[in-house]
Subunit: 279 residues, 7 copies
């Protein structure tokens, strides 16, 4: 059939033209990408290197950040390259994009937690909020950090449990390993005791502890913290080396209890006044 | 009618041309897919295999991950293939896409929980946060893991209940089966007792337990943990083999109570001071 | 008017051409759908049948799942068919789609709960987390399951209330009807009692219960669970047939109380030490 | 000016052509709608009728559902009709749609609660979770249902308050008017009493109540529910007619208290052991 | 330059044609709007009037609703008109729409609360859930309604505070001013008292109150509500005029206390059994 | 090369034409904006002026609102102007818009809080819910308002703390400075006292206070508010000048305590009945 | 082949034309950007400088704000520039945009927290809600501010912990370092004491403290704050220098306790009335 032949002919012309234009475009695109890929990779690595030096970030962590960033960059570039090549050879990429779009939306909704993890993890590393062996309270867990990952942080609780905390749950970090800690002891004396005498006795104990090298700033008796229902509460406060606060508090409690006993000052049990009435 | 014939004619030409161009496109598309499908499948399987070896993941779990990933890849590819074929033969795929889009949006909103389950499940498996027979606290449940699925994790509670936890609810995992645990006993002695003596008695018991092979790090008496309203609380702490902590604590409580009894040191009941007043 | 006639003429040509091309397209579309509809239905039914057999799902439930899936498929197909027919005859379907889109968005936001219900319900059925007559805790309700629907689950509480729980609220299922349950009794003895003697007495009772066929794993006395403010708490633990745990616990409590009475071991009331002071 | 005239001329031709093509399209569209409108209405009414019969829904409620569904259908159809007519006469409907879209989005965000109300209300009616005069707990309110609307449910609390609950807040319904209820009485007897004797006395009372016609399943003494700090708690349980449980429980409490008094079995006050100590 | 002139010429032709076509379109659009505006306004007013009559809504509130609805309609129409005019004269409205879209999205996210307020306010007015001078509990506040606005509701608390509640926070309304209220008094009598006698005494008081005109349904003694730790609690219940319940309860409490005193039936203080033990 | 020259030539023509058409469009656009800008500004200022007068808003606040509104209007107009100019000269504004769109979306998500702040702040000002020096409870803070800003409200707490509350957190305002406040005193008398006598004594004190000018509505004794475990609680209630309620309550407590002492009516301590039992 | 050659020829023409038009556009675009970049930078810096001067913001913080703003501006400009250049040379930028869009959406969802942090941080700096060394309560943490960053604020708790608070969590700031603070002491005296006498004694102590220079507004005895179950509570209130409130309160508690002791006014222990009853 002539009609068919003509159609074929016309089609053939178009096909050839299509091949040539397409070919030229492909060459341009490939060259562009061949240039952009290594340049981008270099730029990213250099940027992270510079940042690491400024912020004093360890070599290993530096490498992790570089690897993640370059990976992300490569996959994005690859996706764009494929799209552009397909588009250059005039194949409808609408469907592909739409497919990716619907999938992307569905995943986007479900996986935003993952992105959140990574973004937060990134800043945990960069801002050095958490470091391995710090004693922290984060994401509802309390313990010593065993590993800070880009997605999950591992915290070893005091009782031995290993907690895996997705970084997105770390909304605020209380880091107990940054600087000196305060030791605080509250002791209640009887209402009948002489407050000045008790303060003197306790201050003497505090002065002894001031020489303890675990104390950075000698403990002091602050005064009457509250008038309780059965006792007058006196507060003693000091600054100690990090992680020594609990031991110091235990020692102070023992020493002060013994000092008050020696001075015959009562630490009272709960009191109650009874009024007898005939039924 | 001539007019009709002409219309038909014109239409026929277009139809033929349409068939030929369409046919060519279809062939190209099918070939492309025939190449991409097995390559993609291979790549995915290889990637998961490599990851499994690196992370020491069991064969069965490896197969599960491969199956899920390949399935996902196949369905996406199929969807895109159909879209491209329809588009190649010039049939309006707009409506199809729109239909899928609206449906997708509706489902996306409703089913993001499902995607969340799978994403979290994926990481639970990969990062080995949870393993079968671990004793964990996760998603508000507490017990021994019976199965870690891609959507749901089954936890057997202590009382025998089987809990099905959608993975998305597992926001943080407290894994109690990773390493030694701490045994902790608090014992209160009377305010009138000599603290040093009590510490000595308790330390002696602790030393006996230190030889118990369930202990990894012998229990020690730490000191005065708090000055309670009726007793002076002393804390004993040690490190035990995993899962032995409860039995050890039970034994220590019994031994220490008996030691204090023997040494005639009182574990006091709540105290109260009574002041009689005439009504 | 000539001008009018010409316009009409031109228009008529276009109309005829429009009718023919449209007609051809319509025929192609209808044939495609006539093929896809039964094939899709068959495929869905077969898939659900296969899944049901693998997972041991009852015939009735199988039918429900098939009906829902096929319905969903049919409505989606119908919607796409109408869209494509309208588009084939060149009528602007933009407005239709836009109308559906806005409506869809509004409904999507409001009805995501509904989709959530169905997705969750689907998995409740497939994964057999809940079955009729199971005793479960789910969505804040506690009771025996009367019906598991695709949207709502009916739970009969112990007090007779019938609870309708939308499936989306079932974030975790605690199923108390899967396997043996544990019976646990805590009994406090006086601080003055000999612990070893008490343990012996209680173990004897436990041994008697071990022969009770409701017990799967004979109850055992574990030891000193805690040193309470007035009593030494001893824990007894055993494994029972499902749903027998409450009756068994009641029987054990009675028997142990009577055994301790017989052995003259005190279950103490709260104790308090009184110190009289003159006002 | 010639130029002007030509422009006008050209324009006039276009106008005429525009009027004719537009006119034809309008006629087609109007005919289509004239057919779809009554058919759709009929279909919706029939569907709801059939559903109502299957589910035994009252006539009045049936009409309400029909009215709402048909209204929704009509407004959507009208909106689409206007859009298609405007588009047929070639007036840019983009702006209109955009206007509606922005408005729709804004309203969609704000009014999703409303859609949620209606969707939930629809299922409350269809699934008959709530009926007028049921005693329910829903959306945080507790009382007798006065009206179930498509948007709001009215619940009359026990104290006389009328509560308006938007349906979306009804996340789970506890319906206390579906079937028999359980009456449960816990009674504590002294630690010194003979448990077997007490069980016998209470069972005798229970047996008398078993003849009470308000009981569906005679009350039974279950056994020792717990060993309280001052009493041994015994549980009695029975099944009663709906809404009779409170009166029955009140009667049982009185009868059992009197029976225990008659049998000289003590219902103890809180006990405490006093240990006198010199200060 | 000739070239320039030609360009200008060509441009001029286009301009003229543009002016004429544009002019025609503008005229058509303006006429359409001139017809739609008053018709729409009338329709809205009529609809609200009809609704107001059916629902018995006060004149003032009717006017408020009309004003708000007509305003909303006018602004939307104006926006669409401007868009269509600009589009008719062929000026790119894409940017305008995009600008409005981005702004709209930003505002939409931020202002959805506002839309929510208005939607809820609308239904509060229409469904008459709240009226001025009602005593209600809504949005966490409790008091007498001073004003129901389209955005905010003003509630005067009992202590005199004026609370401004955004309508969106009113998720459920407990309206205490719709119908009779219940008066409820619980009175505890001693365990040693004769319950029947106490019931008789209390019923006599209740009978006297039954003649009080504040009571709609005479108070009745229901029976033993609970067996407390020190007393047997008896419940009396009645129905009163709205807002009289508190005064009535106060009067009943006084009368019943005096009646029990007169009949020598004890309202017991907390009881405790003391067991003396030598230390 | 001739080919090049021709291309250049063709291009030159297009360029010239492009410049001319573009120029004309630009002129039209600029004129339109030159007209709209001042008109819009005037209109906004007038609208806010009118609103301010109607609502009695202070001059300073009026100026703030005008400034914010005009700024917002100007920036939006500028954005649209730039878009339209670029579009008029045929430069692709798609990328620009897309860039702005992505940025806008990201910011929109993050900054919706900011928009929320401003929208709420706007209504706080307009509806005069909060004014400087009012004593309010809002956003979880309680104190005297120091400043109401468009983004943040400053509240000075009673203890001197200055609280910065983002307006979006102000979900409901409890304004304690709008009208008279209620003073309420609850006093418990002994169970053995004559209630009528006590009511008389307290009413006499209340009558004396009725003459205190701080009272707007004399305090009254309401009656028996509750039968407590050890006392009969009587309530006295009155209306006072704003902010005088606390001082008045303090004075009333002192006066009533002294009046009851004088009349020898007991304000009882907690009571308890002791039953001695031999161990 | 002639056909090929022709295709090539045609293609070559197009290529040349494409190069020329593209080149012209590129030049225009580059010039436009070369002008906009420095102008925009200058404008931003000037705006921030002016704002800083008006608000008295420190130089260092000023520089930080400038750097962040200029960076943001540069990256946005660069992104747009690349898009426009690609578009100018006619390369399909759809795919690029789509890629960026999907990525952007995913990141947008995950990273909105980050944007939120920056927006809030910006306002914390600008509105000077928080300054280094202020004592604040923010985001659930309580302590002295060590650093206010654009993303995180560091707060040092009283116990020495360093808390990292993402700015978005700072929903309200309670700044305790802005102005004088109130010192408040509540002291309970016995029911048998003469209230007037106690008020006089306490006022005398208060007057002595009024001369203490830490007091800005001398402490005053307000009166009877409440009638407790065992004591009459009297409140003393004063205004102190910032941060002196705790020390002052401690001193006042001690002085007042001693003054009441000296005046022989009792600070009572909890009271209870005992009624002995025979068992």
């Amino acid at each position: 059939m002539n009609l068919f032949e003509e159609g074929l002919n016309f089609n053939f012309d178009v096909l050839v033209e299509w091949l040539i234009t397409g070919g030229l475009k492909i060459v341009v695109i490939l060259i562009a990408f061949a240039i952009i890929k290594p340049l981008g990779t270099k730029a990213i690595e250099a940027a992270i290197n510079r940042m690491s030096q400024q912020r004093n970030i360890a070599e290993g962590r530096n490498k992790t950040l570089q690897k993640i960033s370059v990976n992300l960059f490569s996959y994005t570039l690859l996706f764009i390259l494929i799209m552009m090549l397909l588009s250059a050879v005039n194949i409808e990429i609408g469907p592909l994009l739409a497919g990716a779009g619907i999938l992307g939306l569905a995943i986007g909704f479900g996986a935003q937690g993952l992105v959140s993890d990574i973004v937060t993890g990134f800043f945990l590393l960069i801002e050095r909020q958490i470091e391995v062996d710090d004693y922290v309270t984060a994401g509802g867990y309390d313990g010593v950090v065993e590993e800070v990952g880009i997605r999950t942080t591992k915290i070893r609780s005091f009782d031995g449990t290993l907690n895996f905390v997705p970084n997105r749950n770390i909304v605020g970090v209380a880091n107990h390993s940054r600087g000196n800690m305060r030791a605080l002891v509250d002791i209640g004396i009887g209402y009948d005791e002489n407050i000045d005498e008790a303060l003197a006795v306790l201050q003497k104990v505090a002065d002894q502890f001031a020489e303890d090298e675990r104390f950075v700033e000698g403990p002091n008796v602050l005064g009457v913290q509250s008038l309780g229902s059965s006792d007058v509460v006196i507060r003693i406060l000091g600054k100690t080396e990090n992680m020594e606060q609990w031991a110091v508090e235990r020692d102070m409690r023992k020493a002060m209890k013994e000092a008050l006993d020696a001075a015959d000052i009562e630490i009272p049990f709960p009191h109650q006044v009874f009024i007898q009435k005939e039924s």
